[in-house]
């Protein structure tokens, strides 16, 4: 069974992504939620998910900091950035830090469906 970590300070966005995963994935999966960067790192280390969905603009610890810590702990971690930040420099920094992909909010249903096939 696939395991996902959804890290986003917005509860609405976490639930929306979870609903879209349920819509697009035929097989059962487990999800762990985190609402800030600190929780994301801790959850990753404990839960070792197959895929992490990581927001960048979060309190306590930013998603970019969390990304670097997750990759430092596990260079094979698969982290997808899902963010409102549309700056190219942010995109480039995230991929340089080890994210496997970067998509912007608001989440587009069709794009997520296509991407899931690539990521998984």
């Amino acid at each position: 069974m696939k395991r996902f970590l959804i890290a986003d300070d917005s509860k609405a966005s976490r639930l929306m992504l979870q609903a879209l995963l349920q819509k697009h994935l035929a097989e059962a999966f487990e999800t762990q939620m985190a609402s800030n960067g600190d929780e994301a790192v801790a959850a990753y280390l404990q839960y070792r998910p197959d895929l992490v969905f990581l927001d960048l603009t979060m309190p306590v610890k930013s998603g970019m900091e969390a990304l670097r810590e997750i990759i430092a702990a596990d260079e094979r971690a698969k982290v997808v950035i899902i963010t409102a930040d549309t700056q190219k420099i942010t995109h480039d920094k995230a991929l340089q830090a080890g994210a496997i992909d970067f998509i912007n909010k608001p989440l587009q249903d069709a794009l997520l469906k296509r991407k899931l096939e690539v990521w998984l």
């Binding site: 509860k11 929306m16 190219k88």
Partner: protein, 197 residues
């Protein structure tokens, strides 16, 4: 500041995320125009009465300020206010005009354009998500000292307004501005239903 029962925590979460998405769009455009990296912050949500809003503005007053105000209308009616010190306004304007020192009128016209970019690009995504059209007035941008800002604020009579604020923060260039998105009461339900699968 008054937090009322007009919205609950889940709705506040949706308002916060909407402005996060909306302002993220604006930040991408500003990054394209200026080349500067904009640091995004988690937006703050509050429901202000008039006194609360004025108190929040006064908390950010510097000896000389620039304020850019732009109204949008339609079912999603409100306005944006960008408030920054004159020093920050000159630094921000200098990002778009790096080769020459700017006169005050050039600073104002640049802040006018930046305010317009922020308002239109960010509220367009709100318009798409809520599926209602938004119309804009031209921004009003001016320098203010504390007494003239007080006079301006005295002319604003919000009964109550949803304020979602964030920052235009460009650390590398010492630019820091507060941006308010103000929505009138009628827009609350529309906004609250704008994020859904």
């Amino acid at each position: 500041m008054t937090q009322t029962s007009l919205f609950n925590d889940d709705q506040a979460d949706v308002f916060r995320e909407l402005i996060n998405i909306a302002y993220g769009r604006a930040a991408g455009l500003l990054h394209q125009f200026t080349g500067a990296e904009i640091q995004l912050h988690v937006p703050q949500v509050a429901f202000f009465d008039y006194a609360g809003f004025i108190a929040d503005i006064e908390h950010n007053i510097a000896p000389q300020m620039v304020l850019s105000q732009q109204t949008f209308s339609g079912r999603l009616a409100g306005e944006t206010i960008m408030l920054l010190s004159a020093t920050d306004a000159r630094a921000l304007s200098g990002l778009l005009h790096p080769l020459q020192p700017l006169q005050d009128d050039q600073v104002l016209s640049t802040i006018f354009e930046i305010g317009n970019i922020i308002t239109t690009s960010s509220t367009q995504i709100l318009s798409e998500l809520s599926q209602v059209p938004i119309a804009y007035t031209s921004p009003v941008t001016a320098f203010y000292d504390p007494p003239s800002l007080q006079t301006l604020l005295a002319g604003i009579r919000y009964q109550d307004v949803l304020s979602i604020s964030t920052y235009l923060d460009i650390p590398q260039h010492n630019v820091f501005a507060k941006i308010y998105y103000l929505f009138y009461r009628d827009a609350l339900a529309l906004l609250a239903n704008s994020l859904h699968t």
